[in-house]
Amino acid sequence: MSGLIDKFDTWMAENFCGEFESLRGRATPGDEDIMPELRFAWERKMGEAGWVGVGWPKEHGGKGASLEELVAFNEVYARHGGPGRNGHIGETLFAPTLIAYGTDAQKAKYLPGIKNGTELWCQGYSEPNAGSDLSNIKTKARLDGDEWVVDGQKIWTSLAMDADYVFVIARAEEGTVGRHGLVFLLMKLDQAGIDIRPIKQISETAEFNEVFFDSARCHKDDMIGGVGDGWKIAMALLGFERGASTLGQQMTFTNEFESIVKLAKENGAAHDPTIRQRIAKAYCGLKVMRMTALRTLEAAHHGELSREGYMSKIYWATWHRDLGELAMDVMGPDAELLKDGEYGMLHKLFLFSRSDTIYGGTNQIQRNIIAERALGMPKEPRGKPK
């Protein structure tokens, strides 16, 4: 493997220690609202050392790492027990979209903050009435001189409470419906017109939020693409979500899996034949996800959207939810007791993973997408827009 990965390996060994020790294996889904200050510091440390955006092209401040290097990079990070990254939305979703569709000025304005680990992003897509039917966006944007003025509400906005910016899809053209007339805006969260309210979830934690826009503003240059391009940009971003970001997720999954194996060895569940079979199946799933991601990313590298890419969301979500159930069964009756008076890591995994098969397109929507796009089956009949 390349010198880049060896360097990163050494850097992790030398830097992921001391005060950061308490983040080892933490901040995974369901645990993402812990120790925000320390995690900002960690993101900045990664950024300062040049380890954010290693997969971006060199001309945009990245290291132009190959796919194999990115895979190895994430595996090294996992092996060192690196925590969930609060910069991942900016790094793996927003930045590739900005590089593909943004102007030079927009890139110059926003990429450095992501790369340095100083500016965090969140995703303003879902609304109370635009969930599975995502194009039913009601949040409005109107031009007022040099500024866009935004009114409406987003919901299920991951990590908004920690973020500096949000990218928002909003309806700019009065009277349009569905995918038409939308804009993709970049907005600072710290302003009078934006109110963020965390949503307490079944995991007792709150990484999802409601974000209210009441005459919130951004400059008219803070729009990617033109008026009417919002849907196209939003979908391109989801394409990146299907690809590269699954590599980072792989590391979390591997660590969670290994902690379950460790527990099974300690408490004797490893002797239970059905538990053993389920753990073996979960392990197979891990390997399948790795190869599916490689196949999808290799195709994307050659500018193709591969059919198997359509299955990655439902596959990992279902796998992860099953892992949460397995974790409880490995714990056995002890799962009912909260040892430290609060949910442990495996409780959080079990509870939070119920959201995996809902957010980012429910399993039911994913099956529609697979049937229609990967298999070419007839489209769902739609009601008339109100």
Binding site: V288, R307, M311, R367, N368
Partner: protein, 360 residues
Amino acid sequence: MAYPFTEDHDMIREAVRGWAQAWYDGGKGPERVYQSGTGFDLEAWQALSGELGMAGVAIKEEYGGAGLGDLGRVVVMEELGASLCSVPFQMAGGICTDILQKLGTASGKSMYLPRIASGQICPTYVEGLDAFSIKESSLSGVVSMNAYGNAASHFLISFQRDKKVSLGVVMAANPNIEVEQQKTLDPTRSLAKITFNNLSLDDVKVIGTTDRGRLQDIVDQSFIALAAECVGGAQKCLDITLEYAGQREQFDRPIASFQAYKHRCADMFIALEEARSATYAAAIARPDDKTEAALIAKVVAADAYFKIAGDAIQLHGGIGFTWEYPLHFFFKRARANRSIFGSTSRGYNKIADRIFGNAA
């Protein structure tokens, strides 16, 4: 050309696909094998190994093969699986090739590999580590469920002698060997009971010695070909179902437009691509990871094929239940692939053993 394949792989895929589809001929291919009662198609094997030259797809070029490795074999097996073409490829061009190439002596390799590659001989592998007993210098024992044993010109046998595992080749026509074809649930794959009755070791050409662990690794790694057959068959079942769903109308709509139907097809697709990823991952795995990856490919692909073949019958309604419609052949092959070379639950156990080490 799609990752992880190269243009060479695409070329052989095209050649084998065209040939295998012609053989399949609307479901008559497997039916012909069934009618023949032999469990395999000798003419098809002669064509595949002779004219198409595919028996040696994974044999190194210096021995007259194409040198395309596990991935090349995956391509051939996918296409054979899609057509249910029953030939002893995975024995001669699969496991026997691997044992010779990875464990064979120089003379063993040069004696047999070129003849396998050219289709001149067709060995199957007979594992006799526990089944054979050796008295003085003659070998006896019975092995059941030997895949394509009735198609073999030679047997590549393993046996335990003086604390060593020996590998040898013997002519199938030896008077001390009796081959009896077994009746099978899957009529398109031959299984045979082979009885070795005081076979003289002078008749066995020793081609290598090894140890149990190393041999088991090679045997396990040969599962990649079986996994690929599952992928090919599963893809075909999904294709047949999608075609039917687009044509068949109920309630004045194609049944493909019903969400209950679409979601079941989506689940079939997920299982199929899961099997494909596991299989391709094993084919490109590094030597140290290959045994584990092959075990995973085998169980994942066999599970997927069985699910998909069963779903295909369900989604066809009554017609899927008829003998005339080809789905039952796929369903039976899928069932057979769950148990051949070790059952699925045993496979998961082996994977669990690796995960837990000596913990259990």
